[in-house]
């Protein structure tokens, strides 16, 4: 019986078998990269808002404290988005005629809330609590980035579980003194790791990586 395939096909077969490993590997890598990309995570993508609110101006420029607007960040799971009244405390006096701020004034007049687009959106099966992080010395900047330099707000990090676990497994790399939590420009003056380890001890920070810490 004559050979159907030429001898060189053997080489081809071997090549494709071993090549498949690389192809599958490549595809997995591409998949993982896509999944971590801003396309999926929306990290570093500025969102369109009903009013083009600038943290760079309000925080970086004027120097308003985070807690003036995000009032429940130290006490509650959610930091809180300010009610229209908070905006109007200043903007009834300054820029009171600005057309950009018309939606704010309209909301205040009509009693109908502004509908902001959520920038940091965790999946619904994740239960995150701002207050405990802030109380344990996790700075705003650590997760939210230099908000004081954002003209329109974006999400700085991927907010994926591997990112959360970086800190939950090694909190000493990320924590800062409690009085620096709201400081946008803080840099450690000593060895960051030594400081971190000391804070972890002083603040009794635990390595919480049980599933039910966040999922329930």
């Amino acid at each position: 019986m004559p050979q159907i395939f030429h001898r060189s096909t053997n080489t081809l077969a071997r090549l494709s078998i071993f090549g498949a490993i690389f192809v599958i590997g490549l595809l997995s890598w591409v998949g993982a990269e896509i999944n971590r990309s801003s396309y999926v995570t929306q990290a570093r993508v500025a969102r369109r808002q009903p009013v083009p609110f600038s943290h760079r101006h309000h925080v970086g420029g004027i120097g308003i404290d985070c807690r003036y607007c995000h009032a429940s960040v130290e006490t509650s799971a959610v930091a809180g988005i300010p009610p229209t009244k908070t905006c109007m405390k200043c903007h009834s006096q300054i820029w009171a005629d600005s057309p950009t701020l018309e939606p704010v004034r309209e909301s205040f007049r009509s009693g109908k809330s502004l509908a902001w687009t959520r920038v940091h959106d965790l999946p619904d099966f994740v239960y995150f609590d701002h207050s405990i992080h802030v109380n344990k010395g996790v700075g705003c900047v650590t997760c939210h980035g230099r908000v004081d330099q954002m003209p329109l707000t974006w999400q700085e990090n991927s907010l994926q579980m591997e990112w959360c676990l970086n800190c939950h497994r090694h909190p000493e790399r990320y924590v800062r003194p409690r009085d620096k939590v709201f400081d946008m420009e803080w840099e450690p003056e000593e060895d960051p790791l030594a400081l971190g380890l000391r804070l972890v001890r002083d603040y009794r920070i635990q390595r919480l990586d049980s599933c039910s810490t966040c999922h329930r």
Partner: protein
Amino acid sequence: MSSSRPTDLTALRAAAAEPGRAWRSLDELAGGEEMRELLEREFPAAAAEWIDAVSRRRFLELMGASLALAGLGGCTKQPEEKIVPYVQPAEDVVPGKPLFFASAFTLSGVATGVLVESHMGRPTKIEGNPSHPSSLGGTDPFTQASVLGFWDPDRAQTLTYLGRIRPWSAFVESIGASIAAQGAKRGGGLRVLTETVTSPTLARQLRELLEKYPAAKWHQYEPAGQNGARVGSRLAFGEFVDTQYRIPAARVLLSIDADFLACGPASLRYSRDFAAARRVEAGRAEMNRLYVVEPSPTNTGAMADHRLALRPSEVEAFTRLLASRLGVPIDAGDAAARLKAHERWIDVVTRDLQASRGASLVIAGETQPPAVHALAHAMNHYLENVGRTVVHTEPIEANPTDQLASIAELAGDMEAGRVDLLVIVGANPVFHAPADLEFAKRMQKVPVRVQLSLSDDETTPLCHWHVPEAHPLEAWSDARSFDGTATVLQPLIAPLYEGKSAHEVIAALAGDARASGYELVRETWRAQAPAGEEFDAFWRRSVHDGVVAGTALGPKAVSLRSGEFHRYAAAAAPRAESAGSLEVALRTDPTIYDGRFANNSWLQELPKPITQLTWDNAVLVGPETADRLGVTAGDVVELRAGGRSVEGPVWVLPGQAAGSATIHYGYGRRRSGRVGTGAGFDPLPLRTTQAQTFVSGVEVRKTERRYELACAQGHWSMEGRPLARSGTLGEFRENPDFAKHQGPPAPDRDLTLYPNYEYRGYAWGMAIDLNACVGCNACVVACQAENNIPVVGKEQVLRGREMHWIRLDRYFEGELDRPRVLFQPVPCMHCENAPCEPVCPVGATVHSHEGLNDMVYNRCVGTRYCQNNCPYKVRRFNFLLYSDWTTDSVKGVRNPDVTVRSRGVMEKCTYCVQRINAGKIQSEKEDRRVVDGEIRTACQQACPADAITFGDVNDRESRVAQLKGDPREYAILAELNTRPRTTYLARLRNPHPELAAIEGAGRTGEPARGERSRG
């Protein structure tokens, strides 16, 4: 019992009487095929398969399509979400933090103090108010489920006239004209029908209305209220008085068909007191003794040390006989002869009561006729209990009246054409009024009929005007609890629909249509502020606390009118039964009450404590009666009495008195809503003014039809292993750790391949005291409310797919015809060596550092291996999309701190991990450890008897750690080396030595015990 095979009574009796055997159903005793299958397969045959109308081919198509898309699921971006902040910040509201408001839940007019949890203005959960005397922090299933009633999409939403939507102003105008026409007749044609009223404001308004229209009449009728007790007190004392019991002071208690631990306005308080009086710990080994006489097993009967099943008519004879033995000067008539078989029992009870003179207690049940109540009062009087274990007070009702006479008078007036305007406030008389009054027919002779009710019910289509009622969570009101303590009910939210409260409707009748409920209630209390205190301060304090200080009623001195009840009791002697007929007791349903909760799916799916039936009622008969009638469970029978008949399915219930049947009414609603309409059957056509709580001489005819009842008792069964353990007080004194030896011992802690994990921080654990648990089911509903647990419907319950995370197992033990009953709540055991964990292929169930067996929904792919491997059968699988994702109003009730699970996901008790996390976060922020008792699970918080204790077992001082060291403590299936964190404290009974000898005492200490231990 679900099979249609004829019952072999002899075999069943022999099986039941096996020493030490606890059983859950007759099927289990009979050992049939179906039962084996349930045990071995966990789900009945084909329950796990897709056999719905959707064809196999279609299913494969769908599967193919979803597989093709499955890979893409992970790549989807999250949809954009909006954040909608307040315009003006709401006072005290911190987003993400719940607020609690004190209010009250009323049932049959009587208040139970509650704290309502509100998330951003949404009432989501109801807890008991610890400073309220009838709650003390506990709740019952009705209270727990009432929050779902608030979000019920089938509530009446608009004001209608003859079914057409009309504005409130049109109603006010029209009713104003009708009332004006009454002016000349001094209101002679005006009738107001209410349920029992304790509300001081409503009472004040109605009194003012009656002053304005002196010839008008205020009627009250409640199908399930305290009429027997009310009229009985008048019979005994010549005036209406209320009776309270001091359970802790009583050493010997006799309940005459009184389910005082699960029914009635003070049941929560009595459960707490009863459990406390029987708590055997820290060296205390004293218990009271409870005797119960009743036709049908109840929760109280299950807690009894001795229970005697008597036919309803015999209960009255028993009372007369006992009263005469105790020295009450009445003629017992033929009672002694009729109860000859129970001579010894009655003799012992008599002596035991007499021996505890001044520390005994006789309680008559609310379904008992006035004569029995009067005799109970007399017995307490002769036993010198008054002032010690029995306290009389002024009635808490605003206008106590014989409600049966009241509704009959109204029906008579309507028939005679004397009623021009009928205003029904909250009641549903067409469904509930005694059948012989023909209320629906007579009502139509009234020219103008108005109804105020929460939902469109049987009475609504017969009314011209229907005003949607404001739910107690959205209106101001007030009410009093069993001891008189008043609570101001405050709204948590503006009315969802156009609801009006009873106060606003009555004010409109009186001509003040603009009066607000708030002002009306404040007006009532304005005069009540204590001297020297400003009214506003008093008001704010009262509303905030949930109790108005100083409103509890003091004891009242009453004197017995012995001549009267003597005559009455003799007249009430019932006739004897003819063979072939039944006595049918009519009782409120343990889960949907008198039918008012029929549209509440949490309560519909809640297994009834004794029968474990869901979604249906049944004709409950004992095994012997079933055998005599030739019926088995599921056979539809026709019951005929007084020319009326009803048809319903039979359920065989061990412990039901021979020759009697019990039917829970409230089912068979014809207009209720998407949940309640059509569930069960309505036995009320049998109920007449003459036969309110039981009907004699009912003829039974077996039909050829069968009806499938969804009973949960065989589900999640753990075979005949010694799970629910009990002993007697005597055994406990001799051998305190008897329970540990009732089952195989746990293997040595170090008998393991892997090193033991050391729990250094918190180690959460739970102890459940079976001696305290009265089986009320509050924990099951509380868990459902807290953890967003869906209901699955009758079809799915039939397949064993109910989702409750905590189940209340009910075991029978002892003789088939008079079994003892045990309750055992079973949540997740949170085993330290959890068998479910190693079998999960995707790591969706893993252990936390604090010993919690975590369930990670987002990892779960639904293999159900964990469920298969759980020896306790506590894991629940979402076979279908059970959570309602489409009905908007139902979304309001969900707890935002817990995931709403979708289909294909396994779930189970988490020890309320959201509460644990909240407690830990709070303590960490305050830089301290969690204090014992700070974190309470939903089941623990709801439990009226304090049977459930949760806490840190690593903390030696914690209550749970102490209970774990109690000699009665045992773990179920400890022999599997699962090391469950949930453990139990064995149940104790305190039998009378003489009766124990004839009944066959507790299950332990018998010769065959060792044998069982080996099993």
